[in-house]
């Protein structure tokens, strides 16, 4: 980040990126960031990796540096979703939510890590994150529990059809 925001290189704010992000639910929260760095100290991803820094991520969002944030190998997936950053932020920016909004932008482009896509597909197929198999109900019966009912997927798919078909709404 220091390089891209450094004196020698002119940073051109990418407003298209910022506009797209702002369309997402709570995607505009970074606008309130004043770069105090309160989010940094308790961030597990900051502590345990070299490249993840929530303050810098928010700065890149403010500059609209989309190409450094989203893409096939995006480090945003290193976020542990612990919400310590949101807890510490005096401006109620919720960096974790801004990161999730950028993940939504990656999802729009079909850029998911394989593990993430697998869970999403399980949900889109059966309405649960765990795929059903006969062993599940057998194991439940051992504890006197009834078999699981199927999820009414017709209702679920109607609710999300705007984003699964053509002409995705914001």
């Amino acid at each position: 980040m220091a390089e891209s925001a450094g004196k020698k290189k002119v940073v051109r704010v990418d407003f298209a990126f910022r506009r797209e992000l702002a369309e997402k639910v709570e995607g505009n929260l970074a606008s309130f960031c004043y770069q105090c760095g309160a989010c940094v100290g308790d961030c597990p991803a900051m502590t345990y990796t070299d490249d993840f820094n929530p303050r810098q991520i928010m700065l890149k969002v403010l500059y609209g540096l989309g190409e450094e944030l989203i893409g096939d190998e995006s480090y945003l997936w290193e976020c542990t979703n612990c919400y310590n950053c949101a807890e510490r932020c005096p401006q109620e920016v919720k960096p974790a939510e801004v990161i999730i909004s950028m993940k939504n932008m990656m999802a729009d482009r079909g850029q998911y890590p394989p593990g993430v896509e697998k869970v999403i597909n399980a949900f889109l197929t059966e309405g649960r994150t765990v795929a059903m198999n006969p062993a599940i109900d057998k194991n439940r019966a051992r504890f006197g529990l009834p078999p699981l009912s199927p999820v009414p997927m017709d209702e679920i798919l109607i609710l999300i059809e705007a984003s699964t078909g053509e002409g995705k709404e914001s």
């Binding site: 597990p44 991803a45 997936w77 949101a86 807890e87 309405g127 529990l145 009414p152 609710l159």
Partner: protein
């Protein structure tokens, strides 16, 4: 009887039915009547599906909340992830008219409307606030006196605290108090506040974090690690085994879901609680015996 709708989510009913059994066994003894909702789906999960599209995520979550509203009762969850999703959805729908209108327009297509009449509780706050620690203590027939229990709070029970509204995220006591109600002795390990790492798509990060966390659990000489979220459970059972092998460490503290510990303290046999399926078995619990009725201390 206090009636509450049960929102079981995905992980507990599919992977950990012993936890569901323990909930269904213990709550009626505490005066809670469980109402099962028909047609619930995944909450949906606050990590993967939320990453795909937040508005879809809110819409499916709001549908789940509507199912409890139709019964006219509040609902409770047994998973911190479900709690995060359903609490945040309730909060955003309540605070943000634009989101509420968008989501309700979608719900109208399936003949539903979110009204906000059913509130959500995590099962830990259900027993704290509706039942109370003293009433829990009164159902205990097998006190776990002297059992040293470390607590893993996990993230989504507590944070974001303005939405979850459960306890002070910097110094919570709810799970310590719940463990104390069973006679056990909560011990706080140095890195109690760390995340389980399950929601992170990097491999090394959670492994290194778990190594630090588990090292302090060993130092605290905890006999068990009590937790309240099925996702965290997986990280501390199979995940603990993996981390121990990776770093050649002697990590071995069995994780136990609180309601299984409660069921045991209420007299359910160890063999009936499904512990044999765990990588780390909480056999230390077997030193506790059901007390003779004559030993019941006078109030």
């Amino acid at each position: 009887m206090n009636r509450f709708a049960f929102f079981p989510g995905c992980l507990v009913p599919t992977r950990y039915p012993a936890m569901e059994f323990a909930i269904r066994h213990t709550l009626p003894k505490l005066g809670i009547e469980i109402v099962d909702l028909e047609g619930t789906s995944c909450c949906p999960d606050p990590i993967y599906f939320k990453s795909r599209d937040k508005l879809d995520w809110l819409s499916v979550a709001a549908r789940n909340l509507c199912l409890a509203e139709e019964e006219g009762i509040d609902l409770f969850t047994n998973c911190s992830g479900c709690t995060a999703t359903l609490s945040e959805t309730w909060h955003l729908m309540h605070e943000n008219e634009e989101i509420r209108d968008k989501v309700n327009a979608r719900l109208a297509k399936i003949g539903k409307e979110w009204k906000g009449t059913s509130r959500l509780r995590h099962i830990a706050t259900l027993v704290r606030d509706v039942v109370g620690y003293e009433a829990i203590r009164e159902t205990v027939v097998r006190p776990l006196n002297g059992l040293n229990v470390a607590i893993h709070y996990g993230c989504h029970l507590l944070k974001p605290s303005k939405i979850m509204n459960v306890d002070d995220p910097n110094n919570p006591t709810i799970l310590e108090d719940l463990v104390r109600a069973l006679g056990a002795n909560p011990v706080r390990h140095d890195k109690w506040y760390l995340c389980c790492g399950k929601a992170c798509s990097n491999e090394d990060l959670p492994a290194n974090m778990m190594r630090d966390l588990l090292t302090t659990v060993q130092e605290a000489e905890a006999e068990l690690l009590c937790l309240i979220c099925p996702t965290c459970f997986g990280q501390f059972d199979y995940g603990q085994l993996k981390v121990a092998k990776q770093f050649d460490e002697d990590f071995h503290t069995p994780p136990v879901y609180y309601f299984q510990l409660l069921a045991f303290a209420q007299g359910v046999a160890y063999e009936d609680l499904g512990f044999e399926r765990q990588r780390f078995k909480p056999e230390v619990m077997n030193r506790f015996k059901i007390r003779e009725p004559i030993e019941e201390p006078a109030k």
